[in-house]
């Protein structure tokens, strides 16, 4: 069997997605030995952009059947690398919520770069005020983008980080010759075993300063739904998948509410609007929700969802 060539890149990313790939576990060794050939992956392979001795002028990445990109696009270099990946790879996979929806780093879209640099290079309590750096470093773009705002993306594997089940699933589907692999379009609540009584909310909305009520000796399916307990839980407006094919949602399993790390339930869904309905349906006043954008667009600030204030 010939090996399938794979190129991998990370852009405005944290390496969590790459660790998630490693967390595929023991199967990974077999895949690496028998099925996959990585031709470019900076986290483990010393393949360089400008030739191995750094003398070429044009950035280049080898051709591959499958391209995997994690992270959003925040500076000129990220953009250049992404365009090169699209050119050289037949199937492009957006891995992780940063790549699919902007992820946490896209929260920067609420602020101006000027404010950021003003604090970072001048006002911070430890910093000796200085001019902003500009030499030999790629300029920042006007905002942090998801991949599909700049190139066509063939497969979306969201998650922060993506569960290894979906990564393996996608890889095996591609090895079988399929070109499509879709995440289910369901919400976290669909996979959540907690008890919903559908009665109206009993109290005010609580921040995570309060703890949910549960008996640690009893399993998860004997705990009352966290949202119904008054804790802001983003399950209703978040895509399913964090527990893998079968598992319970991972945050709920640790008895803390969901924060939306798999992005919206389906492409184009709008948590900022939909959650108001979810809150109202359990009897909470949506107006009392604090920091709406910080909760509801925490992982999906690209695609124009989060914007910086217009200066007057």
């Amino acid at each position: 069997m010939t090996k399938v060539t794979v190129a991998e890149e990370w852009l405005n990313a944290c390496a969590g997605c790459e660790i998630a790939i490693l967390n595929v576990g023991d199967v990974l060794v077999d895949l690496l030995v028998n099925n996959l050939e990585f031709v470019h992956i900076p986290v483990i392979l010393d393949k360089k952009y400008f030739g191995q001795t750094g003398e070429e002028k044009e950035l280049s990445i080898p051709e591959a059947v499958v391209g995997i990109v994690s992270g959003g696009v925040r500076n000129e270099e990220h953009r250049e690398v992404l365009l090169e990946m699209r050119k050289k790879c037949q199937i492009l996979i957006a891995l992780g919520t940063c790549a699919t929806d902007g992820g946490i780093p896209a929260m920067i879209n609420m602020y101006s770069d000027e404010d950021l640099k003003q604090f970072y290079y001048k006002d911070s309590p430890t910093t000796d005020p200085a001019d902003y750096p500009t030499e030999h470093i790629p300029p920042l773009l006007d905002q942090c983008y998801a991949l599909d705002e700049l190139v066509n993306v063939d497969l979306y594997l969201p998650g922060c980080p993506p569960h290894p089940d979906w990564i393996t699933g996608a890889v095996l589907a591609l090895l079988e010759g399929k070109t499509e692999y879709r995440m289910p379009e369901k919400s976290v609540c669909d996979a959540c075993p907690t008890i919903r009584e559908s009665k109206k909310g009993l109290s005010d909305i609580k921040r995570m300063l309060a703890s949910p009520e549960y008996d640690p000796d009893r399993p998860l399916d004997e705990m009352r739904c966290l949202l119904e307990q008054g804790l802001l839980c983003l399950g209703p407006v978040t895509g399913v998948g964090c527990g893998g094919h079968k598992g319970a949602p991972r945050c709920i399993a640790a008895r803390v509410p969901c924060r939306g790390c798999y992005g919206p339930v389906r492409k184009g869904a709008k948590p900022l609007v939909d959650y108001m309905g979810a809150l109202a349906s359990v009897g909470f006043d949506p107006n009392k929700m604090p920091d709406r954008r910080g909760y509801l667009a925490r992982f999906s600030g690209a695609h124009g969802v989060l914007k910086r204030p217009v200066r007057r």
Binding site: L59, I137, P161
Partner: protein
């Protein structure tokens, strides 16, 4: 000026950086710099967030050490809200810190660093990686992948998420450890401890001796060191203690987290987004590898240098062997790898201690009646890549109004630059350079594990 070699991307590290080596007309190194290429802006976008949420946001600073950011943020938030943790809550956090440390060290040693040592720095790039190690020693490779996986999955099973954790909450921990879970984890930790002892012995006897000449040359320069120690006896601490900043001769200041602003300053260079922290007391930062001023290093070698002893017995035995050979402080950059493995042993032993502590299965895991308030807090945790400093201020509603972060790799920005220049000058002479030599420059960066 002659030509410029652009080594981009720096590979087998966590993060984005490139090295530019400028050669003069005769082909010798005129200058070499490490450029950090992006600015994500965590300090900015945690502003306006409720302080209890920050620990679930800053994890994304690093996907390899998310636990440490998670815990440092929780500690800073606790302080902002004036909370005193119940002992079980504190110990569960520390246990998670140790459990997160173990697979991370295994990952770094075998996946990122070992290819240079096991396969040699001159091996072709197509084999000089973890896949090459699989080819060279499949039995060991299988074992490594399995042990690392086991460590990760134990933590995931207990704490819900291992990457970008959520189980630490302001005022404590989200769920208690049950007795059956405790026994299962303890068994796993003991297995990992055996593997760690095997690893350090293997590295000490079979890997490092072959490269001692490289160790004595590559990226070496005198500097200061920053690490955390236990206030009572100066033992190496990974979770909580006081900061110790040592100068290149071994003299040190020891201070509480909240005093960090008095000791650490940050300087900006026009060619890197990342700032350059330096020790204020020693004078303005001077980036000269022969006579550096203000430069201090963080991370494994730094902690091993600043501590008076290890906190656990087997790690102490390893420290004795290490100190006997290299002294204290030692400035040999590639010894970061060795120091990392000594810490691995301590992390395993400490996890075992915590699991044998009867308090660990207690049910009082979190403060009750937590009220938002205006406050200020500095939380520090030792991460694989260096000391994390999270400093927040909150308003009356407990929303963040200021966040200053100095994270592991940032501390090492100045020293990495010095190491790069030093290594480049040491290996590139009269226009002679090739893949293997340039890889040696990268090895100097990889030691810091950025």
């Amino acid at each position: 000026m002659g030509k410029t070699l652009n080594i981009a991307p720096i590979t087998r590290i966590e993060g984005h950086a490139s090295v530019a080596i400028h050669l003069d007309d005769s082909g010798n190194v005129a200058d070499a710099r490490l450029h950090v290429l992006s600015l994500r802006g965590f300090e900015q976008f945690v502003l306006g967030r409720p302080v209890e949420e920050v620990s679930r946001i800053v994890t994304r600073i690093c996907g390899i050490c998310p636990w440490q950011h998670h815990l440092a943020a929780n500690k800073a938030a606790d302080e902002c809200l004036g909370l005193e943790l119940p002992p079980t809550g504190r110990k569960l956090r520390e246990l998670c810190q140790m459990m997160a440390y173990i697979p991370d060290k295994i990952l770094h040693f075998y996946f990122l660093a070992a290819p240079d040592f096991v396969l040699g720095p001159d091996a072709d790039y197509s084999v000089r990686n973890v896949v090459g190690i699989v080819g060279a020693n499949p039995e060991l490779a299988k074992k490594v992948v399995h042990m690392r996986y086991k460590g990760q999955m134990m933590l995931e099973k207990f704490a819900g998420k291992v990457i970008h954790p959520i189980a630490g909450v302001v005022g404590g921990f989200s769920k208690p450890l049950k007795e059956d879970e405790r026994r299962e984890i303890l068994e796993g930790i003991q297995e990992l401890k055996e593997f760690s002892l095997f690893t350090i012995k293997f590295a000490r006897e079979e890997v490092f001796p072959k490269y001692l000449d490289a160790v004595k040359v590559l990226g070496v320069f005198p500097s200061g060191y920053l690490g955390t120690v236990r206030p009572s006896d100066g033992a190496l601490e990974l979770y909580d203690g006081e900061l110790r900043l040592m100068d290149q001769n071994g003299e040190f200041d020891q201070f509480k987290y909240s005093e960090y602003v008095n000791y650490i300053g940050e300087h900006t260079e026009p060619w890197s987004y990342m700032k350059f922290p330096y020790a204020r007391k020693w004078g303005a930062l001077k980036l000269d590898e022969n006579d550096p001023v203000g430069v201090y290093r963080a991370n494994t070698l730094a902690r091993i240098n600043v501590c008076d002893k290890m906190a656990t017995p087997m790690a102490q035995e390893e420290l004795d062997i290490f100190r006997k050979e290299f002294g204290r402080p030692t400035h040999l950059t590639l010894l970061y790898h060795w120091a990392r493995l000594i810490e691995l042993v301590q992390a395993c032993e400490r996890a075992e201690e915590l699991l044998n502590d009867p308090e660990i299965t207690g049910r009082e895991i979190r403060c009750k009646d937590i009220q938002p308030r205006a406050g200020e807090g500095v939380g520090c945790v030792e991460a694989a890549r260096g000391t994390l400093i999270h400093h927040y201020k909150t308003d009356d509603n407990g929303f963040v109004t200021m966040a200053n972060l100095i994270v592991g790799t940032t501390h090492n920005n100045a020293p990495m630059n010095l190491s790069v220049r030093q290594a480049a000058k040491a290996v590139i002479k009269d226009g002679n350079y090739d893949q293997g030599l340039l890889n040696r420059v990268e090895m100097a960066i990889r030691a810091y594990d950025p």
